[in-house]
């Protein structure tokens, strides 16, 4: 049930916000004490109260005016069912799936960059905004995934929490800015003299503490804020998969969004956490100052959900992909395995509008094939086109770092190395390994031993060259060879490491 997930998440969020509030009050208090007489009993209190007042003013301002201002800033216009029937249908479907109390208002931004965001402080009054670019390039299923992500933001009341957190961050930044500036320009002498007058005992250390707080506070507040934002993105992704029962829809939508070259020109920076992907494309990777988790990671988590679309499945995929053991959801949600099945892929697999690039790409491929290019389709979806000049036996996918064998038709760069020592008989499949060339039994029809390059630490597909049986090799598989259960052939797994063979290069 996503209600309990939402409730648990709310508790965590409130805790984080309280932490930020403490930071705010503390820095306010410290600044107050540093500026006024240190031994005045209310100095700290006055500072803290001022900090609180700044925050409340900012909060009220953003709560009452944010929707209209932000929608206006991003140049969104409200649309009707007549002009965008499919968008309306998809939103309505997700409203039903998420049991949202009211239908959100729907806005479209006329921008070719694909993106989407949600607004609204409560599930009763909310808006969903998508760009024209998103509508143009997504299939129905992908659009559904994106809309479900936005609906989850509304269900989780992310906008409210993120607004509260953002204004706190803003006021902490403002306070520390005021403090450091005035400190730098004017008050060094005054503070020092006052502390001397006061006896010179406590003011010095206090001054240092408040200085440190003025420097550390904003950084800490930012880290808190962005970690909150990223957690909520993961939760929205998980809820999207849960609502649509189809993680692939959101995954391929995110991929398309990531691959698009356009960036949103109209996004105000304060709204960045509300977009489905950060419109500013920080290339910070998994840094502590990113509003969104890295796009590739989100896609890989969604694609790793092979068993089901529930929270447990997302959690497992999350642990598998990120290798972080943190809990995104309460334990009560992580019990029923595979109960939430994945539905079949969608109804309309054709894009909403036929992509013109696709046919151009196909024509280019035909010409490349004539010119001796080699084509590899990576399981991650990337189509690799290798020019005839490429003579290496192996190619590492630039997107997912999988190693591929390059099978040239002319046989010059075929990587299927046979090694006599690895020849095993059929009995190997029964557990009794015995070198074939010693007994000679069944030597004629003994399947060819194969060597396959693989990369440890990631899921990958291996096809037995003898019988065509396909294997999925788990990242935890550590053995160096395996026996095909179909034909009994031995498959040697040659681990391929990333091209950091610098050490060997030095030796030779």
């Amino acid at each position: 049930m996503f209600w309990s997930v939402i409730a648990a998440n709310r508790r965590k969020t409130v805790l984080l916000i309280v932490l930020m509030g403490l930071l705010l009050v503390l820095s306010g208090g410290m600044i107050g004490m540093a500026f006024t007489d240190v031994y005045h009993p209310f100095a700290g209190l006055i500072g803290a109260a001022l900090a609180g007042a700044v925050w409340i003013a900012m909060l009220l301002m953003s709560l009452f005016a944010s929707d209209t201002i932000l929608l206006g800033l991003s140049r969104a216009h409200e649309v009707s069912r007549e002009t965008y029937p499919q968008l309306f249908n998809v939103v309505e479907e997700m409203v039903i799936a998420g049991a949202l109390p009211a239908m959100p208002r729907i806005f479209v931004v006329d921008d070719p960059a694909p993106n989407a965001f949600a607004m609204g402080k409560s599930p009763e009054k909310s808006c969903i905004c998508v760009t024209a670019g998103l509508l143009a390039m997504c299939t129905r299923d992908e659009l559904q995934g994106v809309v479900a992500h936005e609906i989850s933001h509304i269900l989780n009341q992310d906008v409210l929490y993120m607004t509260v957190a953002a204004t706190m961050l803003g006021s902490i930044l403002l306070l520390s800015d005021i403090f450091t500036r005035s400190f730098r320009y004017t008050s060094t002498v005054r503070l020092a003299s006052r502390s001397r007058r006061a006896g010179g005992r406590a003011a010095g250390p206090l001054l240092i503490v408040s200085l440190v707080l003025a420097v550390i506070g904003p950084i800490l507040a930012r880290v808190l804020y962005f970690s909150l934002s990223r957690k909520r993105e993961y939760l929205a992704d998980a809820t999207s998969a849960r609502l649509t029962r189809y993680p692939e829809g959101l995954a391929s939508a995110l991929q398309k969004i990531g691959e698009s070259a356009d960036t949103l020109t109209t996004a105000p920076s304060a709204t960045a956490p509300f977009y489905i992907v950060n419109p500013y494309r920080q290339h910070l990777g998994n840094s502590a100052f990113a509003t969104h988790p890295p796009l590739e990671e989100r896609i890989r988590i969604l694609r790793a959900m092979s068993l089901g679309a529930g929270y447990l499945d997302y959690h497992r995929a999350y642990v598998e992909v990120t290798r972080r053991r943190e809990k995104l959801f309460p334990a009560s949600e992580l019990q029923d395995v595979g109960r939430v099945g994945i539905r079949e892929d969608g109804q309309t697999s054709a894009p909403v509008r036929p992509a013109r690039t696709e046919s151009a790409r196909r024509a280019g491929d035909i010409i490349r094939a004539l010119n001796g290019f080699a084509f590899i389709t990576c399981p991650c979806g990337l189509k690799i086109k290798l020019p005839p000049e490429y003579r290496e036996a192996r190619f590492v996918c630039p997107r997912c770092r999988r190693a591929h064998l390059v099978n040239r038709p002319d046989g010059k760069a075929v990587c299927s190395v046979l090694s006599g020592s690895a020849v095993m008989s059929r009995q190997a499949s029964a557990g009794r390994a015995e070198p074939l060339n010693r007994s000679g039994r069944g030597g004629r029809d003994a399947p060819m031993p194969q060597e396959v390059c693989y990369q440890p630490g990631a899921w990958q597909k291996i096809t037995c060259a003898g019988c065509g049986h396909e294997y999925e090799i788990s990242p935890r598989f550590r053995a160096r060879r395996m026996v095909c259960s179909g034909c009994g052939a031995t498959i040697r797994l040659a681990p391929v490491h990333e091209p950091d063979d610098r050490s060997s290069g030095i030796q030779t």
Binding site: P85, N89, I96, A97
Partner: protein, 189 residues
Amino acid sequence: MSTGTVVFIILTGAVLAVLLYIVFAYNALVALKNQIKNAWSQIEVQLKRRHDLIPNLVEAAKGYMAHERQTLENVTRARAQASGAKTVPDISRAETALSSALGQFLAVVENYPELKANQNFLALQEELTSTENRIAFSRQAYNDQVLFMNNKVEMFPSNMVAGMFHFRKGQFFELEEQSGRAAPRVSFG
């Protein structure tokens, strides 16, 4: 304080706690029951929407599909049966039949390019796709609620409260066949 008063206070506290728990559990169960009712009415709304949509769809297709009377009649008949069904198992069965009839219909549509190019029909088809999705999603929401309720009714300690006030387990709304579960595959090729 004598030991007597201490024991008395502890006992009263315990009884109060139990009473409070009963009140809360009862209220939670009632809320759940109403949510289930609400979710079911949502399914009914969507099924009704589908029933309303089908005559339009058949009407739009008729002019183009002269040789497919059988398919069209199947859809119409399945629709009539589905709108006549009353109990949850009956509705499940009839809707499953209707879904498969619709699936066949949409498969046949593939053979009629003029029909597929018809703007009116395309709009209806999008509506049908959406309606199938809505049925699936409202069913999903309903079944989630029923599962939640059934867990409450069966698990300790809420099962005692449920038994006291005669809360019964809800019935899942299942569509038996795989074809009924997935929305019919429609592609514009």
